[in-house]
Amino acid sequence: MSQMTMAGALNDGLRRSLARDDKVVLMGEDIGKLGGVFRITDKLQAEFGPRRVIDTPLAEAGIIGTAVGLAIRGYRPVCEIQFDGFIYPGFDQIVAQVAKLHYRTRGNVRMPITIRVPFGGGIGAVEHHSESPEAYFAHTAGLRVVSCSNPQDAHTMIQQAIASDDPVLFFEPKRRYWQKGDVDTELGAEAAPLGQARVVQPGTDVTVVAYGPLVRTALDVAAAAADDGVAVEVIDLRSLSPVDFATVEASVRKTGRLVITHEAAQSGGMGAEIAASITERCFDWLEAAPARVTGFDTPYPPASLEEAFLPDLDRILDAVDRVLGRRNSLTGWKATA
C-alpha cells in the first residue's frame, strides 16, 4: 500500500499495462516527451519507446481512426484526448466505428480500445476544457463508459479498461488528479469489476449517487448531513455503461430516497436515466420523487461563473432536504415536515 495522487496512480497503471502486454500502445497529442498536458503519461515514452507511446498529429478523428486499424491488426490502443471538449472531432469514429465494429462484423473483429478523457470543471480553465460529454457515449450501444473517483480505482480501472476486449471511454476527473489516497498496486482479482458500483459511505436515510469528481463532494454531503442527524448512503457509480442498477436498487429499497448528482447538463443526462430506471424498479419503495443536482442546460460557463454552475455541497444538501420532505429552496418553509 502506498500513497499516490490519482495522476500518479494512472501513470503507474498505464506503465503496468504497457509492461504486461506488448500489444498495448498509447497514442495522443503531447503524450511523449511532454508526458501529456496533465503528465499522466510522464516518462512512459522514455521507458517504452516512441512506437509504444506515440506522439500523434493534432487530429482527434485521426487518433481514434488509426487506433481502429491498429485494433483490427491485434493491438490494444489507449488514446488520450487532451481535453473533454476536444473529443467531438473524433465523435464519428467513436460512435460509428469503435462502438459498432464488433457488432458489424458479428463478433469477428474486436475493438479493445481505451479512450482516456480528462473531464469536468473546477480548474478555472478556458472554453472547451471543462465539459462532461459522458452521456453521448453512455447512449451509444457498444461502448463501455466508466469514471474513476479516487487513486485506487484509477489504478485498477485503467488496467481493467485496457484489458477489456470491449472499447472503454475512460473519464478522468481532472480536478481530482492531484488528490492523494492509498493505492494497493498489486490489487488483482479482488478489485471490484469494471462494471460494478460501490457503496463508499453506508447510510439509511437517503441514497446519493455520484461518479467521478462529485464522489468527493457527495462524501462531504454525507459528513454534513450526519451532523444534522441524516444518514446519507453514497454510491460511486464507477460505470455509466453498464450502470450497476442492482447496487443502486438495493440502496434505494433501504433508504426510500434518491438524489443523483453530476456536472453534465441535466436534460438527457445520466441522472435522468438513473431516476427513470430506479423509479421503474423501486416505485413501491420510494418515499419521494428522485431528485437531480446537475450542471445547467447551458454551455459550460466562463471560469468566474463555474462555482455557480457546478453542483456543490449546499446544492446537493438542498436536494437531500427535498427528498426528505424538509424545507428546501423549492418549497420554502411551507413544506416543513
Binding site: 500523434t56 481512426g65 487506433a67 486499424g69 485494433a71 490502443p77 464519428d92 458479428r106 450497476d244
Partner: protein, 389 residues
C-alpha cells in the same frame, strides 16, 4: 479542357494527363516507367482479367435486378469501374488487407468472398457479411472516408510487426473532401505507413460533380502531404495494375504511402435509389461508353488474335452461371431470429443489455402457442404487411 459544368469551372474528370497503357481503341501505348510492372502479364493472364471484369459486371447487373425485384433493399453499382477494381485487387497479395467503401464488390469478388456473404447486407439480414480475417478485407465502410484511417492504422501495425504486408484503402472522389481522408494522409505520411490510397474518381458524388469537390486534380493534393501520387486511366486495367504494383512495392520496401487517382466513370446511378438523368449532362454517358474498360481489353486481346467467339461465349456462360449462383445465394439467406439483434454488441457480458434481452425473450415467449424464438411473430408481421385493417 472539357467543360461540362460551367458553374464549377473546369471539369477535372477528363482523361487528360493520365497514365495510359492501353488506348480506348485497344492499342497498346508504351510507357517506360510503367511497362516493366506489367511485362509479366501474359495473354493468358489478360484473358483472366477480361473474365473477372465481365463476371463482376454480370454480378452488378444481377444484383441491380434483384433490387428492382424487391429481393434486396439497395445496391451500389460499379458499372464502368471494373478495370479500376479488378486491376488493383489482382495486384494484391493474400496477406495484404483491403479497406473499402460499399462499392468495391469487384474487389470483394477478387478476395474470394462468398456470394451469400456478399448479399447479406443488401438483403438486410446482417450488418456485414464476412469475417475480415478470412479474406483480408474489412467490412465496407458506409460513412464516407472513415476506412482510410483504419487502413492507415492497420498499416502502421504491419510496420510495427515487421512484416511486409500492405493495406489498400478504396474511396471515391467525394471522400477526398472529408476530414478523415485528409487526417489519414497526414498520419500515413508522418509515420510512413505502408498504405496505398486508391481513389476511384468516378466523376460523381451522388449528384455532385468532382469539380465541386476539387479545383485541381485530386492527385495533386497528395504531394502536399508528402505523399507521391499517380494519375492513371482507371478504365485501363493494365495501367491500374502497374500503378498498384508500384505503390505496393513502395509500401513493402519501407517507402511509405502512395496515392493513386484512378480516373474512371460511374456509368450507372450512385445507388439504385437515385436517378442520374436528373443531374448528369446529356451526352456524358455516351462519351464514356466509348472508353468502356471491358471493350478496351477485348480490343487489345483481339489485336493479339486472342479474342475469339469461343472465348466470348465461354466467359459469358461463366458470368451467367455466377449470376445464377449469386441469385440463389441471395434468396437462400434466412430471416434472422429476433433475439439475435442482441448478439455481438459487446465482447464481454453487459448487464444492461442482458436485462433487455431477457425481457424481450419473455415477451416473445408470452405468445402462448408460438415459439419463443419469435418465428410466429414475424409470420404475423408478414400477414399484416401493407394492410390498414
Amino acid at each position: 479542357m472539357h467543360k461540362a459544368h460551367d458553374e464549377y469551372g473546369v471539369h477535372l474528370g477528363s482523361l487528360e494527363d493520365v497514365v495510359q497503357l492501353v488506348r480506348s481503341d485497344g492499342t497498346r501505348v508504351n510507357n517506360p516507367g510503367f511497362d516493366p510492372w506489367v511485362d509479366d502479364v501474359s495473354t493468358e493472364q489478360l484473358i483472366g482479367l477480361y473474365e473477372d471484369m465481365v463476371v463482376v459486371r454480370r454480378i452488378d447487373t444481377e444484383a441491380t435486378a434483384l433490387q428492382r425485384q424487391g429481393e434486396i433493399g439497395l445496391w451500389p453499382p460499379l458499372l464502368g469501374q471494373e478495370a479500376a477494381q479488378i486491376g488493383s485487387a489482382r495486384a494484391l497479395r493474400r496477406d495484404d488487407f483491403v479497406f473499402s467503401s460499399y462499392r468495391e464488390n469487384g474487389v470483394a469478388y477478387c478476395r474470394g468472398i462468398d456470394f451469400t456473404d456478399l448479399m447479406r447486407v443488401w438483403r438486410g439480414s446482417a450488418a456485414s457479411g464476412w469475417n475480415p480475417y478470412e479474406v483480408g478485407m474489412a467490412t465496407p465502410a458506409v460513412i464516407i472516408g472513415a476506412q482510410t484511417l483504419h487502413a492507415t492504422g492497420y498499416a502502421l501495425g504491419c510496420k510495427h510487426d515487421g512484416v511486409d504486408s500492405a493495406t489498400i484503402a478504396y474511396f471515391g472522389d467525394g471522400a477526398t473532401s472529408q476530414g478523415d481522408v485528409n487526417e489519414a494522409l497526414v498520419f500515413a505520411a508522418s509515420f510512413s505507413a505502408p498504405v496505398v490510397f486508391f481513389c476511384q474518381n468516378n466523376q460523381w458524388a451522388i449528384s455532385e460533380p468532382v469539380g465541386l469537390q476539387s479545383q485541381r486534380h485530386i492527385s495533386d493534393r497528395a504531394p502536399g502531404f508528402g505523399i507521391p501520387s499517380m494519375r492513371i486511366d482507371g478504365n485501363d486495367v493494365l495501367a491500374v495494375m502497374a500503378a498498384t504494383r508500384i505503390a505496393l512495392d513502395r509500401a513493402r520496401s519501407g517507402g511509405g504511402p502512395t496515392f493513386i487517382e484512378a480516373v474512371t466513370y460511374r456509368m450507372g446511378p450512385h445507388t439504385t435509389s437515385d436517378d442520374p438523368t436528373r443531374y448528369r449532362p446529356a451526352g456524358e454517358l455516351d462519351e464514356w461508353r466509348a472508353k468502356d474498360p471491358i471493350a478496351r481489353i477485348a480490343s487489345l486481346l483481339d489485336a493479339r488474335g486472342a479474342f475469339t467467339e469461343e472465348l466470348r461465349s465461354r466467359v459469358d456462360e461463366k458470368a451467367d452461371a455466377v449470376a445464377s449462383e449469386l441469385r440463389a445465394a441471395c434468396l437462400s439467406i434466412p430471416k434472422p431470429d429476433p433475439l439475435t439483434v442482441f448478439d455481438h454488441v459487446f465482447a464481454e457480458p453487459h448487464s444492461g443489455l442482458e436485462r433487455q434481452k431477457s425481457q424481450y425473450a419473455a415477451y416473445l415467449a408470452s405468445f402462448g402457442d408460438n415459439d419463443a424464438d419469435g418465428t410466429a411473430d414475424s409470420d404475423a408481421d408478414s400477414d399484416t404487411d401493407g394492410s390498414e385493417s
